[in-house]
């Protein structure tokens, strides 16, 4: 393997914990405690994947700056934000900058490892043929590339959103996917229904950019959501 992961986190304890956890997966993990340190290292060599905290020391938006920097050098570089900032505006900003995912603390190390693996797998499979495609009406789910297509056009969604759509489709035969089930898809410790609502809201918007009449994600009030195109 020998993939290089850069972790930028100002708290040495958390940095150590991330490093230990990801090292167990066999990755080479480089930890940096400040933006300057990280930038110096990136000048030498770019990592294969970056995990960034947003607040570094006194610099409140240092993570965003680093993300921009990395995107400028390699737009294909997968970036995961790992932060205590759970505000909607930060989440949107992070994803807009081209990050693959946005995780809020406290994180599940197991899920982090899984996510990193998935991202590497995605890069490897990027140019491969779409073998693992699943078709449902106008919806196409590409497991290998972690891609969603509607009416043949790609829907730019995050890994979490991808998982949510998958969960909805998996529960198509039942009452729908419950909030708890959808929460598991986000792989975070505790997820309020409201967080799910926000994800659904964004997904609907993304589908509607392609098809203004999109109306396949239905609310099951007090329970969750259901995929039903009718």
């Amino acid at each position: 393997m020998g993939k290089i992961i850069a972790i930028v986190e100002d708290d040495p304890d958390q940095l150590g914990n991330y490093t230990d956890a990801l090292s167990r997966y066999g990755y080479q993990v480089n930890g940096y405690q400040s933006r300057a340190d990280a930038l110096r290292a990136f000048d030498q060599r770019l990592p294969d994947l970056a995990i960034l905290d947003i607040m570094l020391g006194n610099e409140t938006d240092a993570g965003f700056d680093l993300c921009r920097e990395l995107q400028a050098r390699n737009s294909q570089l997968p970036i995961i934000f790992l932060t205590s900032r759970s505000d909607e505006i930060d989440r949107i900003s992070g994803l807009r900058l081209g990050a693959c995912d946005y995780q809020t603390k406290p994180v599940s190390l197991a899920f982090l490892g899984e996510r990193v693996q998935a991202l590497f797998r995605l890069i490897e499979n990027r140019n491969s043929t779409p073998d693992h495609r699943k078709q449902l009406g106008e919806l196409t789910i590409d497991d290998n590339n972690i891609g969603i297509y509607w009416m043949g056009r790609p829907v730019a969604c995050t890994y979490t959103e991808f998982n949510i759509i998958k969960s909805l489709v998996d529960h198509i035969a039942t009452r729908g996917a419950s909030y708890d089930e959808l929460s598991n898809m986000t792989r975070q410790g505790i997820v309020e229904s409201n967080t799910i609502n926000t994800h659904i809201l964004h997904l609907r918007k993304k589908f509607r950019q392609i098809d203004p009449d999109f109306n396949c994600i239905k609310s099951v009030y007090g329970f969750g959501y259901r995929w039903a195109c009718s």
Partner: protein, 691 residues
């Protein structure tokens, strides 16, 4: 919320009250005019005294002008004086008095009190006469108006002169002898004058007295006689008396009544003909003034000259100076100048007197009278001017005040409007700068700038408070993450600890802490999130119905009962926020009620509001909770369970309800056995059409 009405009116009425102080100005003006008038009257009095003194100086040493009757006693003279007014030469002896002009008004009446002799027992009310005398050239003129019910003329057959109506004259000749004259006639026309014996019966020489000319004219009540006699017939004392003898019976021809020109008790005396000195009047004529009158009085208080007139009605003062001011005249004749004010017909008259000296002896007095009508007119004019000016000033000041107060209250209103708008209903600062009045350099400008300053400080503080949850989250989540990831790493490195109960309890602690943080930030960022939500119209009945149906699966420890409206209720809002609101309400109800109990969810309409109620069994809420308004993160639950509450749930419900133009209300019902939380939501106006 904010009482705005009081301040405005109070400011206006204060200014009006304040402007009432202006009413003191006319009062001050009136006081000033009074003072001024008083001062002017005193000034006039002094000026009058000076004038009187000047006149007295002119007449000083002129004993020749005061020579008449010096030896006659004053008291006698007072009662016997008959004034002969200077005539202007127009008087024609014709028996008609029209040519006497104004003088005819100055006649004196002689009646009952002047009876000398009467044959009848009863008073001769049938006879009386009026007399006025004048002087022109060398003649003394007299106009006699006799009231007589029966006129008996002289019959030429009789030699006696007293057997018809006639006039009798007694005079003292220059030689000092008493002479008796009878003026009689045989009919209207020229009278004849005869010198008669003392008994009035026969003429002394049968010859008419030359120089006496008179005309007798009959009128409806009697007769008028106008005659003149040469002054040469009178001595230097000019003593004289006129009597009217009345004969009523043509056959008996006896004098029945005789009336004289003196009161009855003085009938033995003679009148003094007082001739006002033309010499003095000539001297004084230059001093004549409108509304002023000047008298020269001799030692016997006889008016020797008179110039000017104050008032035509003021007849009594013509001859009787003593009636005006006996004290003043007396004082002047004793050598003391004096002044006096009196009121006639409502206007003040100032009288001053000054003695006239010849050597050290007082030979007479000057009396000068002047009305203050000019002053009064001046006072009135001044008062009018002051009044008009005051009214104009007050009006302009009042208008100025009104405009000023209007402008002031307008300025206060704009400032108040902007200040109120600067903080919204939730107490959030929406604008940290007040534009109104901010550039004005006065108290209101200062206030506006102070409010701006205050708002900015409040805004900073609010911002600080709003950021507390975020800061707290950041500060807590990082160590929480350290613990969480450390535990995970520990479990991975030392698999033996995975099943350790301490490990499990540590993880539960982390979970609970995380949930608290999520709830805190959820509440804090609620408003921001709500603002970015997209509104849509949806059927809230369908939503709640579906939600309660789901609850039956998710909340297995409680029964649920939904009581919905007969038809759908369309509202404008955000459906998943209503869902979130229901989450909190149901969560709250589940927490408050015992397991196995039924939670009732009701939805109904009331006017423009849709009311969503959640009723659960449980102990009643305390009063302070019912009235709290859920603005704080209150919690009535003290027990520790898996989900932290802190009242955040109800705070979120309240916030969402407000965002839907509604509110949250809590009440105890069914005698405190049940608790009801009701959310009032604003209904869509076109709901009937849609449903």
């Amino acid at each position: 919320m904010i009482r705005r009405t009081a301040g405005k009116t109070r400011l206006g009425s204060k200014l009006v009250l304040f402007s009432l102080i202006l009413l003191i100005i006319p009062w001050l003006g009136y006081q000033y005019i009074r003072e001024m008038t008083h001062f002017l009257v005193e000034g006039q009095e002094k000026a009058q005294l000076l004038a009187a003194e000047a006149i007295a100086t002119v007449l000083r040493e002129r004993t020749d002008l005061f020579s008449l009757g010096d030896d006659v006693s004053a008291s006698l003279l007072e009662n016997t004086a008959l004034y002969a007014y200077p005539l202007n030469g127009n008087v024609i002896i014709d028996g008609y008095f029209g040519d006497w002009g104004e003088l005819i008004k100055k006649t004196r009446h002689y009646g009952d009190e002047s009876v000398i002799f009467s044959r009848q027992d009863t008073l001769p009310d049938s006879v009386s006469f009026d007399l006025v005398m004048g002087i022109h050239g060398d003649y003394l003129y007299a106009a006699v108006h006799v009231i007589d019910d029966r006129i008996v003329y002289r019959h030429p057959a009789y030699r006696r002169l007293d057997n018809s109506d006639h006039l009798r004259l007694i005079l003292v000749s220059p030689e000092g002898e008493n002479q008796h004259l009878v003026l009689t006639t045989e009919g209207s026309g020229t009278i004849s004058a005869y010198q008669v014996q003392d008994n009035w019966k026969y003429a002394l020489d049968g010859r008419a007295v030359s120089g006496i000319l008179g005309i007798w004219q009959e009128h409806s009540h009697g007769y008028d006689v106008e005659f003149r006699i040469p002054l040469a017939l009178l001595g230097k004392d000019r003593r004289f008396m006129l009597r009217v003898a009345d004969v009523d019976d043509v056959h008996q021809r006896q004098v029945t009544t005789e009336i004289g020109s003196l009161p009855s008790q003085w009938s033995k005396e003679l009148n003094h003909i007082i001739i006002r000195s033309p010499d003095i009047e000539r001297i004084l004529s230059g001093l004549e003034h409108a509304d002023s009158r000047l008298w020269i009085v001799d030692r016997h208080r006889r008016v020797r000259a008179e110039v000017g007139a104050i008032d035509e009605d003021d007849e009594e003062s013509n001859t009787h100076t003593d009636r005006i001011s006996p004290g003043l005249i007396q004082a002047a004749l004793e050598g003391e100048a004096g002044a006096q004010r009196r009121s006639v017909n409502g206007s003040d008259i100032i009288t001053v007197t000054h003695p006239i000296y010849a050597g050290t002896n007082v030979i007479g007095a000057v009396m000068l009278e002047k009305g203050v009508r000019e002053l009064v007119a001046m006072q009135w004019g001044a008062f009018q001017k002051v009044a008009i000016l005051t009214i104009l000033a007050m009006l302009s000041i009042a208008i100025g005040f009104a405009l000023y107060s209007m402008r002031l209250s307008w300025r206060i209103r704009t400032l108040s409007r902007e200040t109120i708008a600067a903080i919204d209903d939730e107490g959030r600062v929406t604008a940290d700068t007040i534009q109104a009045q901010s550039t004005v350099d006065d108290g209101l400008g200062d206030l506006s700038r102070s409010i701006t300053d205050m708002l900015q400080r409040l805004n900073r503080y609010t911002g600080f408070l709003e950021n507390i949850p975020r800061t707290l989250r950041h500060e807590i989540k990082n160590p929480l993450n350290v613990i969480s990831t450390s535990l995970q790493n520990l479990a991975a490195n030392v698999p033996a600890v995975i099943d350790n109960p301490y490990m499990e309890s540590a993880e539960r602690g982390i979970t609970r802490l995380d949930r608290i943080m999520i709830n805190l930030t959820e509440a804090a960022s609620m408003e921001d999130s709500l603002r970015s939500d997209e509104q849509s119209r949806f059927d809230v009945d369908k939503l709640v119905r579906e939600y309660v149906a789901s609850c039956i699966h998710t909340q297995t420890h409680h029964q649920f009962d939904y009581q919905g409206p007969p038809q759908g209720i369309i509202i404008s809002g955000v459906s998943y926020r209503i869902e979130q609101l229901l989450d909190k309400l149901i969560d709250n109800a589940v927490g408050l009620s015992p397991d196995g109990s039924t939670i009732v969810v009701q939805l109904r309409t009331q006017g423009a509001m849709a009311i969503l109620s959640v009723i659960n069994e449980g102990p009643g809420l305390p009063e302070q909770v019912l009235g709290s308004g859920f603005d704080t993160m209150w919690s009535s639950r003290s027990s520790v369970d898996d989900s932290p509450h802190l009242g955040i749930g109800l705070y979120i419900v309240q916030t969402i309800a407000r965002h839907h133009k509604g509110y949250l209300k809590a009440e105890n019902c069914d005698d405190g056995r049940n608790v009801r939380f009701s959310v009032y939501l604003s209904r869509d106006r076109v709901s009937h059409d849609v449903s």
